[in-house]
Symmetry: C2
Subunit: 145 residues, 2 copies
DNA sequence: GCAAAAGCTTGAGGTTGTCAACGATCGACA
DNA sequence: TGTCGATCGTTGACAACCTCAAGCTTTTGC
């Protein structure tokens, strides 16, 4: 599909594994963009929605989305105008506002998750044992302890 | 970090594997955004550059980026104005234009790849054997034959 | 108590993304 | 051969995104 031209002829297993993961990322990103547009969400709005599994300070949302604080303000403004989230002052720090999903927001987020939270096509080719293998490998890579 | 709240109490290995992959996607996306901004590229421009391992018709670029044709026009306009790409008419079809990297474009793309094409931190925790395992699993998932 | 820092907002300016409409070219089919 | 429908890229309008600098409020550390 693409990225193939970047793979040196003799790639180490690690490099090839990572390259393959990156092509999976690309596929997933396309899935994400299509899902967002089907639900009438701009990519950034869909991304914010997905992060809101639990209420988050604007602050933290900005760092998760890797963008400026002021960006999040407008983003949340629009989601709030559509009744998908509300701003809720923090009890502990009067500077911070928590972004909380409304029922409508939770429902839309669930619909988004139906489309991108499920494994992609090729995934069911793996056996049970291979799924466990993959899970264990990913646990090791992501291990934050 | 996040997404944890979406994992049902008893997830199947497949679901957990996919959830872990999605958190890795999130990390990689943040890496990508940071790398792009360090190179003075907007995310969309960086994404386009990465796709251009080989010359591509505007058309195909749009479908890879999952966006409208007209969007690519402006995107390439700006990359062209910066001397990173050129438009080259197709010999076979006078409607299509191929987007080709200039030397500067190739150089910038390489710098981008240095930052996102290398495996992330947790990756080196895997042994050689595990890297091979992961590579084989990903090959099976992505097998397009 | 006071200065420095953190959290959110505002405004300016360029970029992204979508839609509808257009000219040019191709392909199929009569 | 000629014509009709589809495809490719572009344009224009308009909303949303994103960053930066500046500002206000609140908190923290000294």
């Amino acid at each position: 599909m693409a990225t193939t031209a970047d793979r040196p002829k003799t790639a180490s297993p690690a490099d090839e594994a990572w390259t393959l993961l990156r092509t999976l990322f690309g596929q997933q990103r396309r899935r994400f963009l299509i899902a967002a547009s089907e639900l009438d969400l701009h990519p950034a709005q869909a991304g914010a929605l997905l992060q809101l599994a639990t209420p988050l300070p604007m602050n933290e949302l900005a760092s998760l989305l890797a963008c400026d604080n002021s960006n999040v303000t407008g983003l949340i403004d629009r989601l709030e105008a559509r009744g998908l989230v509300t701003r809720q002052p923090s009890p502990h720090d009067r500077r911070v506002k928590h972004v909380v999903l409304t029922d409508a927001g939770r429902e839309l987020r669930a619909r988004m998750l139906d489309r991108v939270g499920q494994p992609p096509a090729g995934f069911e080719r793996l056996t049970q044992a291979e799924h466990r293998q993959l899970r264990d490998l990913m646990r090791k890579v992501l291990d934050d302890t």
